[in-house]
């Protein structure tokens, strides 16, 4: 099977967003291979992985924002509609139901337009009157914790700090009342204290609006704190998906285990940080057959290199490891 990451909603076929067999090819090679995931209404799915593992590309494919020259196959379904087949008018409607937050708010807001213009633009294009759109933008700025909203709306992006600008972007994304939010490392460009504030606001608004969330990050702990389930990506594939609370303690894939073990522990002093041997593979460097992680995996066997590894279900999660069942419980977690 092409491996939709299982959850209750997906089994009933009621997931708001269903991605299956998604493969994206760039001129350089495949960047996504056989991605399957499912997000139910009001559910949050974390997508973690190293840089270049294809997290952002997955979000872009879902939003149909692939770079020129990219060829996508497989299917993305949102509320029963096949996203790749939507004609232009329906695509615009789809995009008003799916909002996206980007890593670098400064690059993703037109620098020569005022904050107010940015926040009200989507509403205005949906036919909301200017005065009403401004009023809603004001309310939204209050909700994302920006005081003095009237003045902020008249300011330009360069007059706001990065954290504030990211809140503006979150506010703008939520203004059109989307049903799914794609958050592509929304806090990576912010300093740590600002990160916490922004995440708290995002999480609270998401829950109060019953919004589904695809949360992309390379922070495993953050994903676990925010998301119901977490999917781990490696070299353009999802290698493991599991409920967030169990991912850390009972990983199914050696890569997840190694990632977890490589995290420094705040309670312990160590002279050397643990690393995963080798270097992360770009998706298009991954071997065409066999497990992409085999070269770095301490548990690799001949079976790992011989044929492509499917995503298989195991104890409520899913993993792309042929030895998952026998290794279970024996994978190195954090130092004992």
């Amino acid at each position: 099977m092409s491996g939709a990451v299982m959850n209750g909603a997906a089994e009933n076929g009621a997931g708001l967003l269903e991605v299956s067999g998604l493969t994206v090819r760039l001129p350089a090679g495949n960047v996504l291979r056989d991605i399957g995931l499912s997000i139910g209404p009001g559910e949050a799915l974390g997508l973690v992985g190293e840089s270049g593992s294809g997290k952002s590309m997955t979000a872009k494919a879902i939003a149909r924002l692939l770079p020129p020259g990219a060829v996508a196959s497989g299917s993305v379904t949102f509320d029963g509609r096949r996203v790749f087949d939507l004609p232009a008018a329906d695509l615009r409607r789809y995009r008003s139901e799916v909002a996206m937050i980007f890593q670098d708010p400064r690059a993703h807001i037109n620098p020569v337009r005022r904050i107010g213009d940015f926040m009200t633009e989507a509403l205005r294009s949906q036919g909301v009157a200017a005065r009403e759109a401004t009023r809603r933008a004001c309310d939204m700025l209050d909700q994302v914790g920006i005081a003095d909203a009237g003045r902020r709306l008249r300011q330009y992006p360069h007059e706001l700090s990065g954290g504030m600008l990211q809140r503006v972007m979150i506010g703008a994304a939520l203004l059109t009342r989307p049903r799914l939010l794609l958050a592509d490392e929304p806090t990576t460009a912010l300093d740590v204290t600002t990160q916490a504030e922004v995440m708290a606001i995002l999480d609270e608004l998401r829950r109060s609006q019953g919004l589904s969330l695809l949360f992309i990050t390379h922070d495993l702990e953050l994903a676990a704190a925010i998301c119901d389930r977490t999917a781990v990506m490696y070299a353009g594939q999802i290698v493991e998906a599991r409920s967030s609370d169990r991912l850390h303690d009972d990983p199914l894939h050696p890569y997840t285990a190694a990632l977890t073990a490589a995290r420094p522990d705040i309670d312990r002093t160590r002279t050397r940080l643990r690393t995963i041997p080798g270097r992360p593979l770009s998706a298009f460097e991954a071997p065409s057959s066999g497990c992409a992680f085999a070269a770095r995996c301490p548990h690799a066997a001949d079976a790992c290199r011989s044929s492509a590894v499917p995503l298989t279900e195991l104890d409520g999660g899913a993993t792309r490891c042929v030895r998952a069942a026998e290794l279970r419980g024996n994978l190195e977690v954090a130092d004992a």
Binding site: A63, L65, P68, A88, R92, R93, Y94, R95, S96, V98, A99, M100, F102, D104, A107, H108, I109, N110, P111, V112, R113, E121, A122, S125, Q126, H158, M169, A172, A173, T176, L182
Partner: protein, 287 residues
Amino acid sequence: MTAVTIRSFAAIRRPAGGRLAGIGAAGIISAAVIAVAALAAVFGPLIAPFNTTVPDTTLQFVGPGGGHLLGFDVEGRDVLSRLLAGAQSSMAGPLAVVVISLALGIALAVTSAWKRGAVDAGVSAGLDILFAFPGILLAVLATAVFGPGLTAASVALAIAYVPYVARVLRGAALKERSQPYVAALEVQGLSGPAICVKHIVPNMMSLVVAQATIMFGWAMVDLAAISFLGLGVQAPAPNWGVMISENAVGLQEGYPLPTLAAGACVVIVVIAFNVLGERLLSRAAQS
């Protein structure tokens, strides 16, 4: 390091002086010259002190004197008055050329940058074909078909200029289209045309203005040449190109002032436009 920091600050905060900042003394002088020419174009016919069209053969090529600062032309009309009145058609023609070619050029550039692929290739091929026709040739052809006059010549010239505009602006539009904020607007559900009109075109404006300024100079030279050939503005209506042509005979007869005065007007205004355009262009490239 310090230099880099200072420069990036300069890019964010325009120094005091508004629109004219950063174009240097030559740029400011050029702008002033253009302002004077523009004033003459608007008010010239009103402030011309003497009649500009009625000939008086007794005053043919009479030199300056008695309130006629530049003397009289080949038909005995006051040269200064004709220069002032002629500013209107001499400036309006290039203005029309610039406005038409910019409108077409921006539309083509943004469309091909947005659509990419086959549309882009098709537009580029079409522009390459158009490149093969010199502007003056097209304008002369147009006057042959539609009859001599400023309108036909200006429209034909404008079309001939479209590839120059579109070529430069396509690059800028492509760069702007690949900016992350455009992707963000797309995900917000905005339509392509809305993003182009509200965001991409306004953000290209500094380049557009610079390009327009330089093109104004070319268009003025080309239109003066066409009027010189007798295919543009028709005598006895005053126009700088017409004046160069009709008074050229004075060069051989020892009365060069009328034709040179008209020529000087063209040269000075064209140089001013070129200098200002180049200054604006380098300022646009910096930011």
